[in-house]
Subunit: 336 residues, 6 copies
């Protein structure tokens, strides 16, 4: 067993059997159980942005249990043991974080890998080029609201697959909005303003579909309604009172939100019926697939071989490159 | 050619080649064309509740055209001719209906085949048994609004397949609500109030998805958003300000609306995730299928054979009964 | 290692590493192997109604092996050890149960959670309301046969998913029969007698598709023919000699059995072609889904969170309730 | 109008507008209607092996109607007219065929294009090579029954797509049986006797699924149960009392019948689970596809082009051959 | 019957019953038949870029037949008659076109609606930005070959659905190539050169899959191999001898061609496995869908209503715009 | 720990915890890592024809690493330990094999279980019966090339599922070729020469899709293009210069290769459009399924029960036989 390290606060994926440490985690679940000898103990699941680990607390379980509740950020003193082949924390002390602890949400949640300001700049540049007074008014109303801006800037665009990190929604929408302008430059038959507004608002329902305080997960409403419906409804209510926004444009914009995943199989209640709806669907595919693929290739970069592992969500492997004409280095026998 | 019959106002499926008549129709479309000799003429499509028929007007087409617009109810004087194997109206006079004409929407639109009061009674009896204060308050707010009641009592529940007639939505919802009580009597584990409220409101989006003034058809908003989303959104907005309606119940009720067609393939953005959502989906299947099947069997009743024609929406024939052990009546030869 | 407990006869899911006990299990499999040193030993798999566990016997394996055969109920003396991370029995003694052992099938098989007499009462009440002389005669012939009654009362309606326990078929059929009456009360156009007879007999093929002596599993015939075909054939043969049962009614009844899972994808050789066949399909969906969902929600009740785990057979999670506005209990810091 | 031709009895696909003739047809349907002037008339559909044609009888309709019933073979005197662009019979006289008329089922039903004796020879040669006493006994029992032989020798194997003609079932089964021997010669691991018996009996349910007296069509039982289930049941009942037929072989044989269309989507209640079941499925595919393709290529042989028309049941065109390097014959201008 | 118009050479969709004219068509098929009176006649199908029409020649059929063969461009003198409800040509004279006739392929085949030079300019600008020496060498080799250029500039990119006209392949590829640059500007992680080369060559197999001399249709090889395989093979053979083109780049380029329709269901033997392959697939979807949608909206522009007809290839209607708040013009009664 | 056994060179599936041995393996992967204490170590994956096992080397890792590279055959001295529940090699010495080591590819790769000469004989007998001069010339050119013969005789026909071993392609093709003759004997309408040539060449693309030096796996080109396209292309290039091979026959042969998996879902760019293509597809299904099923039944032969485990690639269990009327042997109680 290593000596106690009080200051390091290691991340979960750095823990090894025998480590003895103080750390900060999100307590995803806790359950009171009893041994055959009727002694109470607690079973935990902890997480931080690098992974998850189980834990058990054997001493004074009842007292500890009273002070805890699911979802809290906790400070834990523990030793790493092995149980049925997996590492597990033997918890010695545990309490909710208090004011004096210096923790930070980025410890628990993955975060976009660059300064979000550049995404804001990109998004605002895209909005500035719009001319439709109704769409401009709608976007100004929304982005003029500080609380909306803050949520929009922090929300992830997914739980895991694409843009699944703090700042991911903004990054995704800003990229889509700029790309939408490029594509509207290419195809004059597209209604640029609708396409760009659709790019900015297509995933706005994620603000309520996901929670992202101490871990990224679906809200109850998110699972029972889905971000597509929440988003369309949000747009409709936000549009109330904006006189410049004619009904046809508003219904078309809602159609863009409702059909942006392209097919019923993908959860759209309606499928694209306009040029802009088809185009937005494909642009979303490009931007989200390239984000997800990028992360998969990054994960696979270390390993050998020219392909990634099989990736379930794509139902295939990806080609990383290489695999042709490798020279086999000469052998250097070092045997008996 | 038969003599002109000024008073009979025949329905479209009673017209025969040679008939000469005055009638009332909905003018579904009109298009100005010109002959090779550059003479203008108008091509029409007319409808009433029994069917559709094409028509042409050759004389003074330009003057007539100025007074007409798509979707109007018109009075027509015409002769039935045959064109490329189909009957067609040679229109002699045509004008929009005026105050002195006694026409009635039931002439143009199919209507429920019994007094809707019995459906209202059934619906209200079902509502009276509810106990959840929030759901009661929501339904009272809605059904206390005269304009909502009027729409709800007139709307069809479909364009053609099931309950596709004036009063169809009310008939369908009232039947579902009563059936929901029967099923809740059977399964105590079901939340009766949610199931019944879901039965009453699951198709409320049809009020805006369909128009049913002079013909039953989709509205633009209906096609671009779909009744499922419109309905869930309607419920959300109607619930505003009802304090007895807790958020969990409201989200569950919206989930019932959003998942009531059971699968993504059927256009649901989310699939049933509760006992009540599964049950409502199957009850809707039973009530709508039995309505549609009933009409198919009725249509097929006249013809011979033990089966209906192939029915595309079901991808099968239906069995009408019979077909076993028919005695072959003795022949009565009447030949040379 | 705990002291030997001769009387407790623990269930498998109560065993812990170190336990030393006498117990009764079904021996699902046994296989003679040899170590590298050529010593014979036996590898077992044991089960009871709570689960499965592996085992090994190292001493006098050959003698023990001669007295055993797959599928027997055995009495076992063993110690619980851990092997590759899983608990496993080190068997010291093993023999088939003998007359003096007091074991009981309910020890090995899950059983319906209430007195089956209430299901019989419900079923018989449903049968009494029938009027069609042919269907009545068929049911009387079947349920008048003591051996059929016994099988029908004991059979499960599934291996695991719904009604997968002793008495499950009767419970399911009785519920369906009563529900069929309720629905026939609602829709006068339904042939009540056919629907109820279909409800009672739709799963009768399970009597031969499944075996349920010491564990619930498929028979060879069950896998190679399926309960749908076995059931329809059973009905046909049972109907022989019943003169009141006209051919049309009999064929319709077989159609109900053959189409009761609704689609070809679900294993039906024919799909519903009558009102009664459609309705029976949906009622079966409701009754079996509510049973399965109920067990899933029960299993998930202990855990935290508002949703169950992902359930593969439904391809979704279920909503358990809650998850809104939880107050976060005040923290009670107990740290250094 | 051509002169009356009393002797020719033309086939339907040889009729031309203006023909005046006596003929024999199957009366597929008849319906009494009335004109607006309240005069009764009859609407018919007639068929023979070459096609179908509508007809009307205007005079003494009521008297004629009393002597007729659906499905009869009738003698008709009529003139061919054109109605709404299609040829139609104006019937002058009609009566059921009587003893003195020399008609023959082959007039009305398509029939296999060679002497069926060669199919019987092939089938019997295949049966003679079998060795399994139970399967031999089963086949001897069946084919020793004169009435079974007669039905088996006349039945079609389909309504239209493959082997859809009198003698088609025998032709298909005999070909399959011989082919099964060839394939069993190739793969010694196949159980020859089961495969050949499966080949002979896989479609035996067609005897009751189809009727083929005056036209080939489904029976009510055929549509409501399907030939797969009827066939498996038939085998089970035929096997009763044959002691040499052990249960495993019988269940395997029924499995071959039940799975011979390969997939649930194709209407199989169970899918192939043995070598013989997989092989029988593919052999059935080969024999039925080659039959159907042969007829499609024959139909298309006359037309130009290297491909057939689009064939819906195959969802593709077939390649007829040719289409490369055609020389363009020299032009022979014959213009002004 | 109108007077003979020798000079107008009308297009098929301008013909009316009674017209009497000289015209130029492609003779898609011709078939010699005989009347019941044994007189030979010929049945034709003619086409030009506006449609298809049937024809018959009754006089001196045998002589005429000798001078004709399928697929020729012919000069026809005919009168338009009506047969079974459709217009049809009664041919009086017919001969293959001769040198003195001034016909032109654009008469028979639809052609891109602008000067193709602008597409060439766009394509070449896209090629000039490439830097990969192997890809540059490959493209230079291909586009340096005059015969390849000519084919590439004339070929359509489809039979009907998208870019189905002379010059369509070039238009499509040039648009894609420019768009690929825009998207590579947006996503620096994309390999610009591969993406652009893929855009230029993805449909190169169309050169051999389609013929487009007098009508656009599939070649035999096109149907039996498909443009995807033909294209990949073409690239492989073109690459032979280009030393700058390393194997990895070549295989990747072939992968782009082979996967550019995205899924196996769409006919791809392999599915996208790289960033560039996914992106190329979506860009192809955008460019081809916008082309096809544009033509559908154009076709529908004349008609009334806010939606197009149901479009089978999209399995939906498209929204044309409008349909909100239409004022109903005042009625102008002109009746009795 | 067992004593070191220097001569036995055990296979991976014979290793037990504690074994101490010298062995030969393929080193599938190696990765340099460091402990927390910054000491480098190597993580390996080894394979031979019996399985895979992980390994670690702790001492002098850097030196060892320099002499090694992925994919080499290595000689290893190691002890078997257990890590997280799985056996793992603690490597003591490792070096690439050298000339003096007697290893053999069959040690690492599974190999066909009989002398391949009988497959060659069968294949050549099949080729000798061909008469089409073009197809004969093509096959003679290919099989006259010694290097082609050698590859063709060694290649597997799959990675794992069917014929996934050295010599598998030849075995599969020879069996198919002979079977094709049998089926052509049965159906005279089949073009024997094309069918047999298709049988011989349908999987020729596997030569480049797979590598099979020290393990069987896909090549990069194999994954990115697939054997279907590689094979068709190979045929096209091999045909160059063979004048007897007319274009129609060549295109038809390529069509056989391109469609031999039957459907787009199975990766075919085109689906069968000729009798021969349909037949070849089904014959390939029979030959590959019987091979795969045979291996599954063999694997399952040892275990109890009448069925195999669930087999994912077939989405079902297979029936092994038995399971009826097992007598339960009398119990021999040996307990207290």
């Amino acid at each position: 067993m290593t000596e106690l390290n009080r200051d390091d606060h290691p991340f979960i994926n750095d823990l090894h059997v025998g480590d003895n440490f103080d750390g900060f985690f999100v307590m995803q679940s806790l359950q009171m159980k009893t041994t055959r000898a009727n002694k109470p103990f607690i079973v935990f699941e902890f997480s931080d942005r690098t992974g998850r680990i189980a834990g058990k607390l054997w001493d004074d379980a009842e007292a500890a249990y009273r002070g805890l509740s699911e979802g809290q950020v906790v400070k834990v003193r523990a030793v790493v043991e092995e149980y049925l082949g997996n590492p597990e924390l033997k918890v010695q002390k545990i309490r909710p974080v208090a004011g004096e602890d210096s923790t930070d949400v980025t410890r628990f949640l993955p975060t976009v890998d660059h300064d979000s300001q550049q995404d804001w700049d990109q998004l605002e540049a895209a909005m500035e080029r719009l001319e439709h007074p109704g769409l401009k008014a709608l976007l100004e109303k929304l982005f003029g609201d500080e609380s909306f801006r803050e949520q929009y800037g922090r929300a992830p665009a997914g739980k895991r697959w694409h843009h699944g990190y703090i700042g991911g929604l903004l990054e995704h929408a800003a990229s889509m909005a700029k790309l939408a302008h490029r594509v509207a430059d290419h195809y004059p038959q597209l209604d640029r303003d609708l396409l760009v507004a659709g790019a900015i608002l297509h995933d706005v329902g994620k603000l309520q579909e996901l929670k992202y305080d101490t871990s990224i997960d679906y809200t109850v409403r998110g699972r029972l309604e889905g971000h597509i419906v929440i988003g369309a409804n949000f747009v409709e209510q936000a549009a109330e009172g904006i006189e410049e926004l004619d009904e046809e444009t508003l219904v078309h914009l809602k159609h863009l939100v409702l059909s942006h995943q392209g097919t019923r199989e993908n959860g759209c209640p309606v499928e694209p019926m306009t040029r802009e709806a088809f185009t937005l669907y494909y642009l979303d595919e490009i931007d989200s697939k390239l984000n997800a693929i990028g992360r998969e290739l990054e994960k696979a970069a270390g390993g050998g071989g020219a392909f990634t592992e099989y990736i379930k969500l794509l139902d295939r492997m990806l080609y990383k490159g290489g695999g042709f004409g490798e020279s086999t280095p000469g052998a250097d026998p070092s045997d008996e």
